[in-house]
Amino acid sequence: MKFLRNLLDKVEPNFTGNGKYAKFYPLYEMADTFLFTPTDKTKNGPHIRDAVDLKRVMSFVVIAMLPALLFGIFNVGRQVNPNAAIIDMFISGLPTVLPIILVSYLVGGFWEMIFAVVRKHEINEGFLVTGMLIPLVMPPTIPLWMVALATTFGVVIGKEIFGGTGYNIFNPALVARAFIFFAYPGAISGDRVWTIDGISQATPLLQASSQQGSQALELLGNQFNWWDMFYGFIPGSIGETSTLAILIGAAFLLITRIGNWRIMAGTLLGMVLTAKLTNVFGEAVASSNPMLFLPAEYHLVMGGFAFGLVFMATDPVSAAQTDRGRWIYGLLIGFMCVIIRAINPAYPEGMMLSILFANAFAPLFDYFVMKGHIKKRLKRFAA
């Protein structure tokens, strides 16, 4: 450690002032503050600061995603190598998943660096999270060049053109996924998506919506039972299949208070209420739409709902930023997700679009919460 510190101190002059590589100071700063806590001192009151910083917050979000990632690797391997031992399944998942993560971080990191150098600001830790979120919402069969393209789109259009982390309107990882969804729909939906080495299988959502005139549960039949879907032994995007692994991450985010419980609770509540409503409605009109009959607990474990609820909806920057706004924002996501799943015949997955939709409305919710707050203040003062 002493050696590292000395090395960094030795090369520092190259990156500051008139140094040879002064342009690349953000790179030095990143390495320096990655390895050692920064030297910045307080300049005025308060003269002391909390030990937490954004590096820690962001890396904790990544930690929260680890159970989902590890299970994702295992699950991919399970589909490639269905009869292997558990550890072998895990190992055979690695060659598929690791390159996707690598591409996401390399391409995203590249853009982060370019923008940091041009804008002369530090490299923001926000990308630690985006770089992990992108692979986790990709199907394992995604070509790497598409990952590179999607990451580029997500980081540049989804975040950097707004001014970087903290200024973006939409969740960059979802922008990346939406890009693939609209640009290369064949790669992310359709019934042959989850093909790995010749084995193809429909996702539960696709299965449940596959035939008009039946009910979703009948269509799922014996192929997918609830517990399998809860544990995650189903095809799907890398990180989204295991609701259990995602809930472990959720618990971590809630205990550390990094993830907002109001958003999570709002989303869950919105989903449950809307699912109940569609169930009742489906019965009442004797609908032939199978998805209208999917019970709430199935919505929870199918597709990207749980993953989106825990890791995407809670992105503090693109979510609503007032407590009441967070409830409304969450409720809207849960509502929209079920509606899209049930009513939209072309595409059975609703979580991505519903979160992006709610992202767009989040500032409006905050605006109304703020107006309400102002009105209450005036009322209190009038009394």
């Binding site: 450690m1 590292l4 510190r5 700063e29 503050t33 990655f34 390895l35 050692f36 806590t37 920064p38 030297t39 910045d40 001192k41 307080t42 300049k43 005025n44 009151g45 308060p46 003269h47 002391i48 600061r49 909390d50 030990a51 937490v52 910083d53 954004l54 590096k55 820690r56 917050v57 890396s59 904790f60 530090e122 923001n124 830790e125 001014g163 970087g164 982390t165 903290g166 200024y167 205990i255 550390t256 208070r257 990094i258 907002n260 503090p316 920057v317 930023q321 007032t322 407590d323 905050d366 919460v369 703020m370 707050h373 102002i374 203040r377 209190r380 003062f381």
Partner: protein
């Protein structure tokens, strides 16, 4: 009424002051810093070499020529230091061993009640005690001959290392406090409010006349004037005005009217983890910090703060203690660079977040350095600052409106109720390391100029 707040935090810091008290001599030099008074444009009334009586005016405010700033000791003007654009930085006075003093007519308690607001204002201005009355919004010196809707007296701060009320009141008399209150009575048409900690009852503060007694409970900033005002008599707009004063300054005013002499002594605490003798001291105003700490051992590489650790300003040995400050805090000024600190388990880290294992251990008093513990980043609203904001304010929205210079929204969100000191814990706990107190000050400056 009892003001009970839940949002806030009492920092557990190493270096608490003992309840003992020692008296410090005035020393051979004292200094006055016009920068202690925000918004004051100083106009000198003395030149180098002038001999001064104790209590003689040294400078005045160009905007308010009635308000005089007086020397807390007799002597001669030794030096006047100017900074950029000939701004007066300090006035050094060589203390003389004589008893020449500016004195006023003494009154009995009964006689005080026969005075009027004009007379009271005149005496306070001439004595140099007027600046101890400040106004909200803006926390600047009260404007003579205007009338606030109420006046607040704060008895004890909840900021770290605040002077203990028992120690402060030990050598004073109830009559003096009553005299101070009776004098303030002339300065407002509304009420005078005294707010004390609920768990502390002192007979010198009970059964006082002309004052409404309130109590507070809860963590810091429960003792802040801003919190009390927002509960008792909130500031509704820019034209609204309340005044406030600390109990020590109130005692000085009472003393002045009862004896005709100004007592320039006040009780301060010296505290923090980088100093040896942590206790209360009775000092003369204007006393140099080097004199106050002369029997004290300050560690190398320490930061000396005039005031408390949350709101005070960086100071130096050859400065005097700030006019409004009641503490000198000394903490280590060396950031220790922790290897991979962002992922370390952090058994010994102090954080209001739940991201360190120290959260599971019993809270111990912690040595803080001046390290930012991270780099500055854009706003990441995870709700941490809302947890320590007891005012009825939406802090994230307010901060955004200030950054956007959106004066209308700022006003609607209650900028005039705010003071930077109410936001110090927000600055403390923010993971993005934003200078939230600075932003609030910018907002107030902008609103005062443009609103």
């Amino acid at each position: 009424m009892n003001i009970r707040i839940k949002k806030g935090h009492d920092l557990k810091l190493a270096g608490k002051p003992a309840k003992t008290m020692e008296t410090i001599d005035v020393g051979s030099f004292i200094k006055l810093h016009p920068s202690d008074f925000p918004g004051v444009k100083p106009k000198l009334l003395v030149k180098i070499g002038d001999t001064l009586k104790k209590g003689q005016a040294v400078f005045t405010d160009k905007n308010n020529i009635d308000v005089l700033f007086t020397t807390p000791a007799a002597g001669s003007v030794e030096d006047i230091q100017f900074g950029e654009r000939r701004r007066i930085e300090s006035i050094t006075i060589r203390v003389a061993e004589n008893d020449k003093v500016v004195s006023f007519e003494p009154y009995s308690l009964e006689q005080i009640s026969t005075l009027d607001s004009g007379k009271v204002t005149e005496i306070l201005c001439k004595s140099g005690l007027w600046p101890s009355l400040r106004r909200r919004p803006f926390s600047k010196i009260a404007i003579p001959n205007t009338f606030p809707k109420s006046i607040f007296i704060s008895t004890m701060s909840t900021a770290p290392f605040a002077a203990d009320l028992e120690v402060v009141l030990e050598q004073t008399k109830k009559e003096i406090i009553q005299a101070g209150i009776d004098v303030l009575k002339f300065l407002t048409n509304g009420s005078i409010n005294m707010v004390s900690p609920q768990n502390l009852s002192n007979t010198k503060l009970t059964d006082l006349n002309n004052v409404q007694q309130h109590t507070y409970t809860g963590p810091h900033p429960a003792g802040n004037i801003g919190v009390h005002v927002s509960q008792i008599d909130p500031i509704k707009n820019k034209e609204d005005s309340i005044w406030y004063i600390s109990i020590q300054d109130l005692i000085s005013i009472g003393e002045l009217f009862l004896t005709g002499k100004v007592d320039y002594r006040k009780i301060i605490t010296v505290a923090g983890s980088a100093i040896s003798e942590k206790q209360h001291y009775s000092v003369n105003r204007g006393t140099l910090i080097s004199q106050i700490l002369s029997n004290n051992k300050v560690e190398d590489n320490a930061r000396i703060i005039s005031g408390d650790i949350l709101t005070g300003s960086i100071s130096y040995m050859d400065n005097s203690i700030g006019f409004y400050h009641e503490s000198i805090t000394v903490i280590p000024n060396v950031p220790n660079r922790v290897f991979m600190g962002w992922i370390a388990p952090g058994f010994s880290k102090y954080s209001l977040s739940n991201t360190f294992l120290s959260k599971l251990l019993p809270k111990r008093e912690k040595v803080f350095t001046t390290s930012m513990n991270g780099s500055k980043r854009a706003i990441l609203p995870i709700g941490a600052i809302e947890k320590v904001m007891p005012l009825n304010i939406l802090p994230t929205m307010l901060i955004k409106s200030i950054i956007a210079n959106d004066i209308e929204t700022m006003e609607q969100l209650g900028i005039y109720e705010c003071d930077p000191e109410d936001f110090t814990l927000c600055s403390f706990s923010d993971a993005s390391k934003m200078d939230i107190t600075g932003i609030i000050q910018d907002g107030l400056d902008f609103a005062e100029a443009e609103g």
